[in-house]
Symmetry: C2
Subunit: 514 residues, 2 copies
């Protein structure tokens, strides 16, 4: 049984690998030699892959509803509420992006071929059906047709991955819109240009602005889909022990005593919203005045300093605590830690590239110094926060310790984690006692994690809803060139948004466990 | 204890991550904006990192010899003979490369600054000392100064990784030598050019040829060092159980009955050597005639077809065998499987890029069709061979089963792998009996794996000793442009050489276990 499972995983993994390689070679060719292999060929390949994935998704949804024995178990850890929520949010935004794309092409129909309409239309159908299927089935542990299901899941994952690679590297639409905006301006000043302009100016501007604003969401969406599909692939053929759901429920979210953390965090959140609105209102013009950049970066520097201090203080308190570490293997937690570290790479990469660009050009302006400080603090904050969250996730929560120390009621004896000699398990009375009276360390941890939750939401909101000063301030764009910096930012920013969401999830667990 | 170990691993991993990001941003900047940040800055950064790593390596070597309690255990799985052998081989080749580099710079001293001499000189010292330290200490499980040792190892690993990234992306020396060869030719025909030419023509040509031929070895060397340093890092603070070395020794390598596999394999090897010599002799001129490319690719197509058939047949025989799978967790084997899959990505990537280039240009010549067939067969062969080796590694060897079924002599009871109900362990008499008389399946497996070992050695020899038709045939170079194809080939080929070596190691285990 286990042997067949391993072989199926290996085979479907090789299938996905080949699809990704083929698509990657296509995309790379269309970039480096756009004569022999055009972007249209890449779109055709992706459309074929999307059609195949769609057929499989529909077959899967129909098959699992018709055969009731196909899904006997559902993984309680998979598809948590924030994953499904972000799937829905990003899915609807990515759908809107495609709608805007269609609208843009329709308003250019007089000078472009109607074939350009097909690909965004396919994309709309694909995103809609995929979101619906993943929303319903993300917890499944499928038992029927294991190998076929694995291959289908891997094909869909490879399609999403290729969509992500294309979205990260393909800047033609951005260039087109930028050329059009410039062309429009030249037109007003009397020049004649060869760019294809809209007939209906207001509708077109809505499509252009909306496209630029919603663009990051589609890359987010592909990443979230890949994560969900990977978990489903791991769960194919898995049988859960019946006592898996007998785990004591997490305690409800109480704001016990963490008042100053809440107030400081709310303050940061409100200030962030104010900065966001000012920046967004001013960003309507073609160029943003320097003082708004200074405002934005100064706010971020202040916020990141406070967050770094909070994370370092929290890590220090974790070190002082006497509760033992939970060293039992836990696959869900391992995946959490890997995702946290992996997603942090995005913003850290951007920060390092910024630092090198600024140091190499040796500027003396205030804005450049602010960007430098911002980049350095960003790296520090990511590392400190990762340490804090990982330390927190490895503490054994008090309610679990209390539940374990109770005499087991059923016949089944719990698999006790190994305790060192001379370290008796805490008596239930003591741990329940400590659960009611928070000592100063646990209170401080609660305050700090609540503050960090609100700060992370603030920092999540800004790039998620369309502020991209990294791209608009022009410093690095000039240094690295348009295409390189476009790729770096489009690679890093969606990972950064994902990181903020994911660390809010981790911090909530730290808050509850403290 | 385990908690401190995890924290140390996390901290040193973050250190390496930051160093790699900083260096990566430097290298990327020097490529996309070579005015503000020159290649010289990258060399200075690398020289600093090399100096720090050197200091640490010397401290480590001195510290472990002075304190006898620092290394109490040695990991028997780490640093096997082929790893240490390739470390020594590639290390000496990389050293020679730097010597040629120095020689090249010396013969150009009249028109370049003597500062160019410093960096290759540092590299020679670094490679020499690193090879010596890693050769002596690759099996260590260090117990003293855990966190400092982890940081030092990670710093050295990051340095090697950056050297690899630079070697893969930096083609300035190649361009310089190519320009010089062209300049020399123009000079003969009477033109005057601005390139800096050697004074001593014969010595210079030796340096140029040697540099181009030895270049792939330095990338190999960095990869092997990274693998060894990673294993050492994992082993810091590890305590081995005393019975770990009580495992029965592997049986000696006998050529029992695998005669036809041996003969066919030797035939392939001899044919490969002939093709290699012909190609190498002809490759002395500036351009290689088309018919030698056709000879090379035709030979490879024939060989790869035979290998693919052998792998598929072997996988089928594995499926027929009744021996049960070994599903116990085994970290060394997991690392083997991951390395096998990861190293296969190199050649598969090159093959996919070739396929896309050939299909997009739609040529009708014999050579292009041969390259297409070669690329397709390469992908098929890598996948089939990976399946064959992984299946073979997961069979429980007969001698292990026999040793386990014996009554345990010491008081310690072996941790028996879980056997299914109704599946009694094979009696020792039966397995020893089957060990002496090979049935047809085991005989066929031995024949196939011996044939594959010799074929892999043939395919290893050609790129390892300087045949790079992928780069010289010009088809893909024209399609993708010089720099892109240089990066792809330099990324893929060293991984491909590593893959051949590693699969020989895996196939020897399959041969012994069959």
């Amino acid at each position: 049984d286990r042997q067949a499972q391993k072989a199926g995983q290996l085979f479907s993994g090789l299938l996905a690998l080949n699809v990704v390689f083929l698509g990657g070679a296509f995309i790379c060719s269309s970039i480096s030699n756009s004569v022999a292999l055009t972007l249209g060929d890449v779109w055709v390949l992706l459309a074929v892959l999307k059609a195949l994935s769609l057929l499989w998704l529909l077959y899967y949804a129909a098959g699992t509803t018709r055969r009731p024995h196909a899904v006997l178990y559902r993984d309680p850890h998979a598809g948590s509420i924030w994953v499904r929520g972000s799937l829905l949010l990003f899915g609807s935004c990515a759908g809107c992006l495609s709608v805007f794309h269609v609208g843009y092409e329709v308003s250019h129909l007089y000078c472009e071929s109607w074939l350009e309409l097909i690909f965004p239309a396919i994309e709309i159908v694909f995103i809609g059906i995929q979101t619906w299927v993943l929303w319903r089935h993300c917890k499944d542990c499928v038992q029927a047709q294991g190998n076929f299901t694995r291959c289908g899941l891997m094909l869909t994952l490879a399609t999403n991955l290729l969509m992500w690679v294309l979205a990260v590297t393909n800047d033609t639409m951005h260039r087109k819109i930028e050329a059009e905006l410039n062309g429009l301006m030249d037109n007003f000043s009397g020049n004649d240009s060869h760019t294809c302009l809209c007939l209906n100016s207001t509708g077109c501007q809505v499509f252009q602005k909306g496209y630029l604003m919603l663009y990051p969401f589609s890359t987010e969406y592909c990443l979230v889909c890949c994560a969900v599909l990977f978990v489903m692939w791991k769960n194919v053929g898995r049988r859960l022990a019946p006592h898996a759901s007998a785990r004591p429920g997490t305690p409800p979210f109480h704001l016990r005593g963490a008042l100053s953390g809440l107030l400081l965090g709310l303050l940061a959140l409100v200030a962030g919203v104010v900065v966001f609105v000012i920046f967004q209102v001013e960003a309507n013009g073609p160029t943003i005045a320097r003082r708004y950049f200074i405002l934005y970066y100064a706010f971020c520097v202040a916020l990141l300093s406070a967050m770094s201090l909070a994370c370092l203080a929290g890590t220090a308190i974790h070190g002082l605590e006497e509760r033992e570490m939970d060293t039992v293997k836990n696959p869900t937690r391992s995946l959490d830690v890997v995702l946290l570290m992996g997603a942090a790479l995005g913003q850290m990469g951007i920060a390092y590239f910024s630092i090198v660009a600024i140091v190499a050009t040796r500027p003396h302006e205030l804005l450049d110094r602010l960007v430098l400080a911002y980049s350095l603090l960003l790296i520090l904050q990511h590392m400190a926060q990762n340490l804090f969250i990982i330390e927190g996730l490895h503490r054994r929560p008090l309610w679990e310790a209390a539940a374990e120390a109770e005499p087991p009621r059923g016949g089944r004896s719990h698999s006790q984690p190994e305790l060192g000699p001379g370290q008796p398990p805490a008596s239930p009375r003591a741990s329940i006692h400590s659960n009611c009276h928070l000592n100063w360390k646990r209170r401080a941890l609660k305050e700090l994690s609540l503050f960090l939750i609100l700060c992370n939401i603030t920092l999540w909101m800004m790039p998620a809803f369309g502020i991209h000063p990294e791209f608009e301030n022009g410093l690095e764009k000039e240094f690295y060139g348009y295409r390189t910096w476009f790729t770096i930012v489009n690679f890093g920013l969606p990972l950064g948004v994902f990181y903020r969401m994911h660390s809010v999830g981790g911090l909530v667990e730290v808050y509850l466990g403290a």
